[in-house]
């Protein structure tokens, strides 16, 4: 059989086996070190992203355990105040910037191209670059922590503590540049997702047929694009204050410390939704498979996602209620903080209606969805409580707030994420995770989570401030703290069990088949794990639940070239085919660009001149990246 493609050879006349061989020739990442470093396959990169993010979750979890050990008894001796400050800063920073945001984006990097029925993400080389930047940002933070240079200013790095006067040494600069690394990577992924969703959907996937997870990621990506520049401006200004003597946050020279809080929270509040919206998207994606019907209220769900995205920019001041802002301003932000409960409520009622009208199948992902409902609703209700200024004034900076945001973030994002890992693991690896162990994991995490964090509400009400490295016996917080710490060990055991199950199942799990849950969306139309080219023939979408409505035969398109990497570009609204566009091949330039950018950013921690000389290798790497290589992908 001749498998060498002719110039401009099309797929129409090829039978399936031969088409597979030919597509592999152009799409497969070469084996070996070069291939590993040069790959632009969204699935390979996403897998790395997900694994790296879970490694940072585990690291952050170890720090949490150390802090709980320290707080288990009054006058604990395990960690001194300096190490404790580093521990909570690196814990929070890791969980937000190195785990929560990247893992959600990574799930999208894997799933969105499959769900919209295309062969690779838009700008695959940018995707490779974004992973390297993220990895370096994480290594920077943790490397610094290991050599006792870890930031010690809290994950939101308030000035003047983080400014040049009090934040001596390089610890804060490391925090600020870690922000630069992770934000560059997050912004790059956001651009890729926006363009993939808008322009690379399979023909026929009009706006009202886009899977809800994809909608959630589109809205999330726009939030990233509009929110992250604020934190980059903030961290850049902070570095400038520290490094070249500007006065953005120095009141003695016309600067203002609250400016930092405004800039940070203008990003920091939408950040919560950057983490939360992908999670609700995951729930909407999983739920139909376990109740055997489409999600109730598709259009209200989409509008709720968009509404949440817009409202998320009107809440940031509720983090600053105790800074003495004008009353009217506070009232506005109280109102908007309560208003955002409305779209969240709409989604919850739509899900409840979906379950009500469906026939629930109690598999592990569904158990995590139920765990989400319970914990997130508690977190949402305490959120409405602290949205009220008088109550917030009392509870600000106390353990009540620690309890609240862990309920929102773990309940609202981590539980759906773990459910999503159980749900999509068969797609990622071709093997199922253990149903039996999964039930233990879900149960253990749910119980241990509530045991760990619910008493923190009470500790906060009893007056225990957050970020204290110890407390005296006479405060009478010892009993509850001991209970919390013991529960935290149980929580860690749940995560350990999850990791062990994932590692074991990746090798020895039961083979999954293409569509083990009988789900309706396109990622289940291809094999598990998918081939490098995702779809041998790009699907033609004729309904919102293509696999449920297709019967035995999936309608597909034909006429694409097989001698170069080719995918389809379609219109934004109706997904009508516009062009057969090429997709870039593997390249080392993203890695070189990341190395050059790393030299620039790391150098700038030491001397501002690094920005000048460091820009030369960056420019060279970028020129190398964009210079056409004369491949078939460059033809037009």
């Amino acid at each position: 059989m001749n498998t060498m493609p002719q110039p401009d050879q099309r797929d129409a006349s090829l039978e399936d086996a031969r088409l597979d061989i030919m597509l592999r020739q152009v799409w497969d990442t070469p084996r070996g070190l070069w291939g590993a470093l040069a790959t632009v396959d969204h699935k390979v990169i996403a897998r790395r992203y997900i694994i790296t993010a879970f490694v940072f979750l585990a690291f952050g979890g170890v720090l949490a355990l150390l802090m709980r050990w320290q707080l288990a008894r009054p006058e604990g001796q395990l960690l001194g105040p300096d190490v404790y400050n580093q521990a909570f800063t690196v814990h929070g920073t890791s969980m937000m910037f190195l785990f929560a945001v990247p893992v959600m984006e990574a799930m999208a990097v894997y799933l969105v191209p499959l769900m919209v029925g295309t062969r690779n993400i838009a700008f695959p080389r940018l995707n490779a670059f974004s992973y390297w930047m993220y990895l370096v940002g994480g290594i920077l933070l943790w490397g610094a922590f290991i050599v006792d240079l870890g930031p010690d200013i809290g994950w939101f790095a308030y000035v003047p503590l983080a400014g040049p006067q009090y934040g001596i040494g390089k610890r804060v600069d490391i925090w600020a540049q870690m922000i630069t690394f992770t934000e560059i990577s997050a912004l790059a992924v956001a651009v890729e997702i926006v363009v993939t969703v808008l322009k690379q959907r399979a023909p026929g996937m009009s706006l009202d047929r886009i899977p809800l997870f994809v909608w959630a990621m589109l809205v999330t990506s726009f939030i990233v694009i509009l929110a992250m520049p604020a934190v980059m401006v903030a961290s850049t200004s902070l570095i400038l204050d520290r490094l070249v003597g500007t006065h953005f946050f120095n009141p003695a020279e016309g600067g203002d410390v609250l400016l930092w809080q405004h800039l940070f929270w203008f990003f920091g509040h939408p950040e919560v939704y950057i983490i939360f919206l992908p999670a609700v998207g995951m729930i909407s994606a999983m739920l139909p498979a376990f109740v055997r019907r489409p999600v109730f209220g598709y259009i209200p769900m989409v509008l709720a996602l968009v509404g949440t995205g817009i409202l998320s920019f009107g809440l940031w001041v509720h983090h600053m209620f105790t800074t003495g802002l004008p009353r009217l301003g506070e009232s506005f932000f109280t109102a908007s903080s309560m208003a955002i409960a409305v779209p969240s409520g709409i989604q919850i009622f739509c899900w409840l209606a979906t379950i009500w009208y469906g026939r629930p199948v109690y598999r592990v992902p569904f158990l995590f969805i139920l765990a989400f409902f319970f914990t997130f609703i508690i977190g949402g209700m305490t959120g409405v409580m602290v949205a009220s200024v008088p109550l917030d004034t009392q509870l600000h900076d106390s353990y009540f707030v620690v309890a609240h945001f862990h309920y929102v973030l773990v309940g609202g994002a981590v539980f759906p994420l773990l459910g999503a890992v159980y749900y999509w693991f068969p797609k990622f690896t071709g093997r199922m995770m253990s149903e039996r162990i999964g039930r233990w994991v879900a149960g253990l995490l749910f119980v241990a989570f509530n045991f760990t964090f619910f008493p923190m509400h009470l500790l906060g009400l009893l007056g225990m401030p957050r970020r204290v490295y110890t407390y005296q016996t006479e405060m009478a917080w010892g009993g509850l703290n001991l209970f919390v710490s013991v529960s935290a060990v149980m929580l860690a055991a749940g995560f350990l069990l999850f990791f062990l199950d994932a590692i074991r199942s990746a090798r020895h799990g039961e083979p999954a088949g293409d569509n083990p849950w009988g789900a309706a969306t396109l990622e289940w139309a291809t094999s598990s794990p998918p081939p490098s080219y995702n779809f041998a023939r790009i699907p033609l979408v004729q309904s919102a639940d293509p696999l449920w409505d297709a019967g035995d035969e999936l309608p597909v398109t034909s006429g694409l070239r097989v001698d170069r990497r080719e995918l389809l570009v379609t219109t934004v609204g109706g997904a009508l085919p516009e062009a057969r566009e090429s997709s870039p091949r593997c390249s080392l330039w993203p890695l070189w660009s990341a190395i050059a950018t790393t030299a620039l950013l790391m150098g700038s921690i030491v001397t501002p001149w690094a920005v000048v000389w460091g820009s030369v290798p960056v420019a060279i790497a970028l020129i190398g990246w964009f210079w056409p290589g004369g491949s078939k992908e460059d033809e037009s």
């Binding site: 401006v233 500007t246 600067g255 035969e553 597909v556 070239r561 566009e581 210079w627």
Partner: protein
């Protein structure tokens, strides 16, 4: 799952142009990111004005000259930029080469004048918060001029190589044109902010 061929797409073009081009959308997305960055820095400027007892802080009013010169040069550059866009759309290689060389000059001129503009504020970045935010805003915009100019140089060089004879390159030129328009148009509110607000 078995496949049923339901739509033949063999007649589609081999690359998308204009709004069918992925890089066109990518350029828009990056413009949104950077536009948000500019808006945040202008917001920072206004915030610092709101907490300052006087504005500018212990500094003279900015001199109009160099900044207005930069503005005029930038606005003037829109003319060759528009021509370049037309020539790229018409895929006229000879004229596109000329247009890129023109844009390389029209981009360099405001950059040179920008050096004097920094001096025209009579304040250093480390004098006070006014100096800091002026230099940040001006520096951020200058970075955009430099990066787009670098891209124009590279594209100009590229169009004199064997890679030039390719509709994709004309698409690259059109994306470059789009981005330069963005660099010029974002300057206008920054100009109004930097020179107008101290005079209010």
């Amino acid at each position: 799952m078995r496949h049923r061929k339901a739509l033949d797409l063999s007649a589609l073009p081999m690359n998308g142009t204009g709004s069918a081009s992925l890089t066109w959308w990518g350029t828009l997305a990056f413009m949104l990111i950077e536009g948000t960055g500019f808006a945040v820095v202008i917001g920072t400027y206004l915030y610092l004005v709101s907490v300052a007892p006087e504005w500018p802080l212990r500094a003279p009013l900015p001199e109009w000259g160099p900044g207005s010169g930069v503005t005029l040069l930038l606005l003037l550059s829109l003319v060759p930029n528009m021509l370049l866009s037309r020539w790229a759309a018409a895929r006229d290689l000879r004229k596109v080469r000329l247009g890129l060389l023109l844009m390389a000059c029209f981009g360099t001129a405001p950059l040179v004048l920008r050096a004097w503009e920094f001096a025209a504020f009579g304040v250093s970045w480390d004098s006070n918060a006014y100096g800091s935010v002026v230099w940040l805003l001006l520096g951020l915009h200058t970075t955009h001029i430099i990066t787009d100019l670098g891209e124009t140089y590279v594209l100009a060089a590229l169009m004199f190589t064997r890679h030039a004879d390719n509709p994709r390159r004309f698409g690259d030129v059109e994306d470059g044109v789009l981005y330069w328009n963005f660099v010029v148009l974002t300057w206008l509110p920054i100009y109004a902010c930097l020179y107008g607000i101290p005079r209010l």
